[in-house]
Structures are given as structure tokens and as C-alpha cells.
Symmetry: C2
Subunit: 521 residues, 2 copies
């Protein structure tokens, strides 16, 4: 809707909305509904189970849903040639004008919670990638695990005063709280977790030193890079802080109730940050979206979540990853940081967050992926083919964006145009995954238009449908007065870092947006 | 809404609606929305998992949802005394003025598919009854099983022409098709089913003769009584009939696709019968509800199904069960028919259905349960206590019925009033389960008001939310032209019996409503 309004009027409305909450709320409803309604509402008629509508496809969520029906395609280009679209060819990395490294870190932490494509081992059939192990909810499973058994294993489970409702944790020097390590000091499996928590992906390929610092987390991807462990540590601390406060005001509550109410609160705080900080960071509009659940209460798009196979591709933002990262004052090549939590613990949580604010993310798009990640881009292309994903131009139409009639409608970059043309000849033949990343980014957003649209649609239609946001649940008694107050006082990661680190932020800026960013008009 | 309109106007509108489809559709929408909106929409804030709102309570469907929060109660009457409310004390069974025995048979078949309270063995803790094994969908699991593995075991899985998409079956004399038997002729387990299908409840307690006639069905309660097996057999035949037709018009489709499309069709045919025949039978209004899925497409009550613990109690209609049943010309005491499928196979399917039409059901309510079932009533009372179900009067208010202020507001029967008063003293103390059945039935309905309201609310809010009824799925290509045509030409069990029995109905009347029933005005 707002695309049709001239820029000066949009800015005027945005300024008025800041002073007039009723206007802000009205615009918020219109914008969110307008976005979500730009494509078909769930239930999706198809999943990866069958290439037609079946009861399995409509109900078995271990298959991934589909926005569009599969399309069998022939004579697609050699994937090694498609990989050129992502390669730098020796050029320097380009940076995103808007985003700091906190943005890709948060995106990775967020999506690891619900995009859970099954990763077949070398011995297993590649078709396993058509399945997922997702709960299809924003449920903080990297923190709490995906099942009751995992949640139980991660809890302290103590009825003692001062310990009720807590997640297991360890205190390190300087008053820094972290999750316990997954392994015992002698390197053997800790029986509290072995066979219960998912084995961290990649744990078998790392050095003993790194293995010793792997945390007992709910997610098998949560130890993958230290910036994801950083985010999970922040929410672990917030959970335990809340449990302590809830225990104080509700002395009659047992361990179970303190835990459950703290968990309710942490999930909603996370949802609030997703909308108020993350989505507002990616949106090019001067309007700020408001995390007001009411917009979904009577919405006809409020239907059960189901992560799509397209979503598992369009969220692979490898080119955002910088070539090197500053950790604790030292510049470290990103390719070497995999599963190295000692980078986080040696820096401390607040410093690690501030380091992420100080560095720009890469520019998302063509010819800009770090060399160590280009093979991963090729695997994504292959996954798209395995799932018979429809062509890129079909998806443009599906989300109400103009269908490209020429390669110049995809990208203004002549090198990108030439490469796509040589690969696909016809713009309607461009594959989904390369097309997503060939596009120019949207002015004032770190994302290109098709990705931006999908992310916005799915963020709103899958975050606001959270049962904790539902009309008879989203009220003080679900969260306790302490939790309800924390929910209302939290809308950014900075709020959480301030109250969950020994030193706090001491006035330092913590943001997904670069300090030197100014919007273009 | 329609309660407020005088009777003559209701009848006039109903007559007009028959001639004017747009009016019928408008009234249908208003009536359905009015009914469903008489209580809170899902998601329910509680389940049997915790006595407060928790993430487990909001997401783990192996616990049963709750309409109202649990209420711990003290000093409740001795269950043996409560059982008096159901006992006949030597009086003759009273009959329902409206319903034939086909009505309770269908109700049992329908609810066995989604009310799946876990039944603990004597050695297991009774708290297991707070859990369920339901898919929370009307998915025809008595026919297809509750899991992919069970479905696979029940299928013929043949790629041959003339066999594609079929469920396993056997032909008996007279051209009668039934499911295969669960056991081999020597009484040993058939390896196709052993360990895959749920063990039929009660199979260990019956004679070898009955055990030999137990069918390989998807549900563990589907062999419980021959009238339930009768209904499942009907849908088995319809599935295989449809598969044959679909195979003919789509010769390129493989076994899998023929099966899936036939299953889509059978589920929707069943949903249509639930609304058009079953719900219209229980409704006291002269309006006929229409199984038009559109009413739910934008409804704010279209939220994921979740069977409640209250539902598992209010659907125990034991007093509908007649003391004896005619099977194949012979009158058999109902207490002896448990798991005796030979009654069905010796009669044949059409005759069995017609026998059910010829006999009145019992009157639902106080002092009318067959003696062999009164202990089951007591178990229901105990289950209500185990789940800390709130008092009866709270539920009246919850579904927008007047809260009783005296025992005479519950029942006009002085014996019922006296008994309730002696048990509970105060009408606000009456327990949910006894209160449900103490009420008078509604004029022109087989059900009393509180049960009627819950059944209508849950039927609409859980049937119309079926994914096969959703806007982008409910169209011809999901069902094939054959299936789409069958859906539109089917609204009663009679339609199915006509086309799935060797002789058909030959003009005989087959109905849930007694031939001698006339509505009171």
C-alpha cells in the first residue's frame, strides 16, 4: 500500500504517527495486513511429501510446506557455473550500508530455531533434505530444546529458594554466566545431556579445545559460530534473571511454575525483538512496526505455521558474513571461528555484542560471498533442484511483485545481467535461489525485494500467530507482573544486554544498524 | 440468535430458505457464527499439562485442552451415590422420540476418531487419562490409521491396473467387501499388522470366535461394537469404489496418487455427512445447516483444533444405547455384542444399516443407562474429578446459557432435582458430568442443552477448520473430477449405502431420525 504514496507524504505520516499512537496503530494494521495479504494465506496446498495435494501434505509437518507447486525442470545450467554468481573473483568484500554484524548474527539465531532442514550424512540419501525437524514455531528451541525431554535436561530442577525455575548454567570469571559445557572436563559425554540433546552439527570435525567449550544448548546449530552462542547466552541469562524475580514475588510457586512463566516471558520478549528491532531494521519504510499482537486476532491469515521449503532457501544470507570479525580486540578470519566459543567467553558478553555493532555486515547479493562459503551456495542451488522449486519469476508474481520481462528487471548490474543471460537465456528460466540473490538490494534495506517480501510476510504471519500472543493468553497472568513488566520494557537486544551483563552497556551504542547509516530519500 | 425469533417466523424463514439459496446461505453463516461465538475461540489458554498457562499447555497436544481452568474441589459426594443419577432402578428403558440407533452408532464412530483419551491399564497410574493419542482432526483415522506406518499397513499398495490406490479388503459371500481380519486363520498375528496397528481395546478379553472376526482397522476402538465396524466398512467400500473410478479416468496416476486422492475425497464426504446429516439431526431448528466450507475461511474462530478434556466427557452418551439390538432378524442383548463382528457379516451391510434405522435409540439423560454401562458412568465422574473439571454451572455460563439458580433450572424432573439436591446441596456445586446428563433434552433434539451447545460449537469449529476445506484446497483438482462429483452428490449415509452394497437400499428408508418423529412447535 505505502509504495503508492509519495515519499514526502510517507515521511510526514511517519512523523505524525510518532506523536499520535492511534494513527501509528492504524498504519501498523494496514501495513502488516497489506504485506501478509500480498501472497496466499496458509494452509499451503502442497508440501514436499507429494507433488499434489494429499492428507500427508496437509498435515505431516516433517515435510516442508510449499508456496508454489513443484515444477520439474530440464536442462538447467551446471551448478559450478551458477556458483560464479556468488564468487568474488578476487575482488574485495563489499559492505552493507545499513547493517552491522549484529544483523546476520540475529538472523542466524532466529532462523536456526525453525528452519530445520534435515542434513543427510554422506551415507544417507540427499532426499532427506526434503524433510525437517522443526516445531514450526518461534519457540526459543535453541535455548529450551525441541522436546520435553530436552527441556528437562537443560533445567536445574531445584525446589530450593534461590534456584527455582532456572536453566542450568555455570559462572565464569567476571560474573559472566554461561550454559554448562556439553562434555565433562575429561572430554567424555556428560550423562545429563548425552543421547538427549541433539548432537551439535560439526562437533566431530573440531579440535579437542573447541569441543571442550561447546555449550549444552537446546539447538544442534546453536554452537555453530560464537555469535549464535552469544545470543543464546543472552536469553539464558534473561531467563534465569526473570526466574529469580518471579520466585521473589511468588514465593508459593514451585520450580515448575517459575520455569514455565519465565519461559512464557522469554519467548514473548524474543518475539517483540523480532518485530520491533529486527523487522524494523530490514524494513525500508520510515514507519516503525509495532509488536502489537492484536493485528492477528481476527486476521484471516492467522493459520497454523508451517515453514516452507522456499523459506529454507531464501534465508541463506552467506554474503552478509564478513571475511573477518573482531573478537576481544583481535581480528579473526571468520572461516576459522566455527564452533570456537572461547572467542565469546574470553571477550565477555557485553564486549562481544559491542564488537558486533562496530563492524559492518557484508552486502547481500551477487559476487560477494566469502570464498569459504561459496560451496555452500552451490549446495543451496542443488537443494532447490532437489525440491523442484518453481522458477524465480513465478515467485515474483506470487508475492505481488512485478514479473521481470528482461534480465535488467532483475539487476541493474551489467555483470549480473550478462551472467544470468549466459546461464538461463530467458529471464523466466532463472532459478529461484540465484534469482533471489541476483537482485539489487532495496534502498534503505539490507535485503533485495523478493527476499524482503518473503521475510516480512512470513515474519508477521508466523510470529503474530504465536499462541502466547493470542487474545486469551496475552495478558499479565500468563507472565506474572514481573514478566509482563519485562515484556513491556523490552524491545531491543540492547535492553537485554544492559541488564544481563556485569558492566551493562555504559552508554555504548548496540544496534543492528550502522552508526554511519543515513536513509536515502 | 434464532432463539430470539418467534417460532412461526423461524418456520417461515426456513421455508423461504428452501426456495432461495442466497437466504439459506446467509442464515447458515449467521447461525454457525452465532453458535461458535457463544464461547471463547481457540487457542485455549490451558491444557491438562499444567493448572496455569505454559508453553507445554499451549503446544503439546498429547495433553488435552481445557475450556475452563481447573478447579480443585473438596467434599464431593461418593461416586457410588452419584451413579444413582444414571441407574434405572428396575424401570424400563425410555426411548428417544427423535433418534434411531443409527444416531448413536454414528456418534460413536465419529468421536472414536478424535476423542482418544489414553486408557491406563490396571498397573498404570490413572493420571494417564489426562493424556490423549489424538491427531485432533477429523481425519478418518479409524479407516486410515493414525500414522503413516499404519496407513501403509492398511493399503494394498499395488501398481497393477484394477488394484491401484486400494485399501486391503476381503470379499465375502454375496459380494460383500470387508477389511481383512487382523489375525491369521490359526489365530496367530498377521505379520502385516502386528506391532503396527494399535491393539484393539478389549481383544484379550474375548472368545476365540470373536477374536477371529476382528478386522484390521485403523482404530483401536473400531472393532469395539459391530455398529462401529459397520460404519467403517461402509467408508472402506467407498474408498475402494472411488479408487477404482479415479484409476479409470486417470490411467497415468500411480498407486500412491490414486490412494491419496481417494482419501482426500472420503474425508470430505465424511465431513459433509457430519454436518448435513448428523448435525442437522441433533439441531432442534427447522433450518438445515449447509456443509459450505466458506463460512470458516475468514472466521476468527478458525484456529487449530485441539480436543478438550471436557469434550471427552460430554460425548459419553451411554443412555442412548438400547438394551437390545436386532441383528439379522435376531434380537441380541447389547451387553453381549461387544467385538462380535459376525453379527455384521452374517447380516450384510445394507441390512445392518436398515436394522439400525428400524430401532429407536434410548433417551439421553438421567435414570436411563443400561445396567451393564452404569459402572462406565462412574468412571466418567472419576475422570472429571481427576481433571479437576470446573462445576457444571460455570460451563453453562461459559457457553452463554443461563446460569442455573435452582435445581429446577437444571431439570423439570422432581426425582432428578431431589437427587442432585441431596448430592450437592447447592446448584452451583453440581459437577460437570452429572449436570450434563441431568438436564432435560431440548425439544426436537435428542440432546440436552449444554451438551447440544458444546457439540455444535465444537463440530463447526473443528470440522470446518479441516485443511481439505481451506480456500486453496477445496477445489476439484484436489479430489479429481470423480471425487469432486461424489462430494457434491453425497450428504447422507443412505447415499453411501445405496452405492456400496450389492442390493442397494431398494427404496428403504435409512435415517438417524425415526420414521414416526414429528417436531413439536
Amino acid at each position: 500500500m505505502l509504495n503508492l504514496i509519495p515519499g514526502w507524504l510517507t515521511r510526514l505520516l511517519a512523523a505524525l504517527a510518532k506523536r499520535w499512537p492511534a494513527l501509528a496503530s492504524w498504519i501498523n494494521h494496514r501495513m502488516i495486513n497489506g504485506l501478509v495479504e500480498s501472497c496466499r494465506a496458509r494452509p499451503h496446498p502442497w508440501s514436499t511429501a507429494h507433488p499434489y495435494t494429499s492428507w500427508t501434505a496437509l498435515t505431516d509437518q516433517s515435510w516442508s510446506a510449499r508456496h508454489l507447486a513443484p515444477v520439474k525442470r530440464e536442462s538447467l545450467p551446471d551448478p559450478a557455473e551458477v556458483q560464479q554468481l556468488f564468487e568474488r573473483n578476487g575482488d574485495e568484500q563489499q559492505y552493507c550500508k545499513k547493517s552491522t554484524c549484529l544483523f546476520p548474527a540475529f538472523a542466524q539465531y532466529l532462523t536456526d530455531g525453525f528452519i530445520r532442514t534435515v542434513m543427510p550424512s554422506r551415507e544417507e540419501p540427499p532426499e532427506l533434505r526434503l524433510r525437517n525437524s522443526s516445531n514450526h514455531q518461534i519457540d526459543m528451541c535453541p535455548l529450551y530444546g525441541r522436546s520435553q525431554m530436552q527441556t528437562d535436561a537443560l533445567r536445574l530442577k531445584s525446589g530450593k529458594r534461590g534456584e527455582r525455575g532456572r536453566l542450568l548454567s555455570q559462572q565464569m570469571s567476571g560474573g559472566e554466566e554461561y550454559a554448562p559445557y556439553l562434555l565433562l572436563p575429561d572430554g567424555s559425554a556428560d550423562p545429563r545431556f548425552a543421547g538427549i540433546l541433539d548432537e551439535p552439527l560439526g562437533i566431530r570435525d573440531v579440535t579437542d579445545h573447541r569441543r571442550a567449550h561447546i555449550f549444552a544448548f537446546g539447538g544442534d546449530r546453536t554452537n555453530a559460530v560464537p555469535q549464535v552462542a552469544m545470543l543464546n547466552t543472552l536469553f539464558l541469562r534473561e531467563h534465569n534473571r526473570l526466574a529469580g524475580k518471579i520466585e521473589q514475588i511468588e514465593p508459593s510457586w514451585d520450580d515448575e511454575r517459575v520455569f514455565q512463566v519465565a519461559r512464557n516471558t522469554v519467548i514473548v520478549i524474543f518475539l517483540k525483538i523480532v518485530v520491533a528491532e529486527y523487522i524494523n531494521h530490514i524494513t525500508p519504510s520510515p514507519f516503525r512496526f509495532i509488536a502489537a499482537p492484536k493485528v492477528a486476532w481476527k486476521a484471516h491469515w492467522n493459520r497454523p505455521n508451517w515453514i516452507t521449503t522456499e523459506f529454507s532457501l531464501l534465508y541463506r544470507w552467506h554474503s552478509l558474513v564478513p571475511d573477518s570479525m573482531k573478537w576481544n580486540g583481535r581480528v579473526v578470519p571468520t572461516s576459522t571461528t566455527s564452533m570456537d566459543n572461547s572467542l565469546l567467553t574470553s571477550a565477555g558478553l557485553a564486549a562481544a555484542f559491542l564488537n558486533h555493532t562496530d563492524q559492518p555486515a557484508g552486502r547481500l547479493g551477487a559476487f560477494n560471498t566469502a570464498p569459504f562459503l561459496t560451496p555452500v551456495e552451490t549446495r543451496a542451488v542443488m537443494q532447490g533442484r532437489l525440491a523442484d522449486i518453481a522458477p524465480y519469476s513465478e515467485y515474483r508474481e506470487y508475492v505481488s511483485l512485478p514479473r521481470p520481462s528482461d534480465f535488467s528487471d532483475v539487476s541493474t548490474n551489467s555483470k549480473t545481467q550478462r551472467l544470468l543471460k549466459s546461464l538461463y537465456r530467458n529471464v523466466n528460466s532463472v532459478e529461484f535461489y540465484p534469482g533471489l540473490f541476483a537482485e539489487d538490494t532495496v534502498p534503505n534495506s539490507p535485503l533485495p525485494p523478493l527476499i524482503l517480501k518473503f521475510v516480512a510476510v512470513d515474519a508477521f504471519s508466523q510470529a503474530f500467530t504465536n499462541p502466547l500472543f493470542s487474545p486469551h493468553v496475552f495478558k499479565e497472568e500468563t507472565f506474572s507482573p514481573v514478566g509482563w513488566d519485562a515484556i513491556h520494557r523490552t524491545s531491543t537486544l540492547a535492553d537485554l544486554v544492559e541488564r544481563n551483563t556485569p558492566t551493562g552497556l555504559q552508554g555504548a551504542r548496540l544496534s543492528m544498524t550502522r552508526a554511519d547509516w543515513t536513509p536515502v530519500s
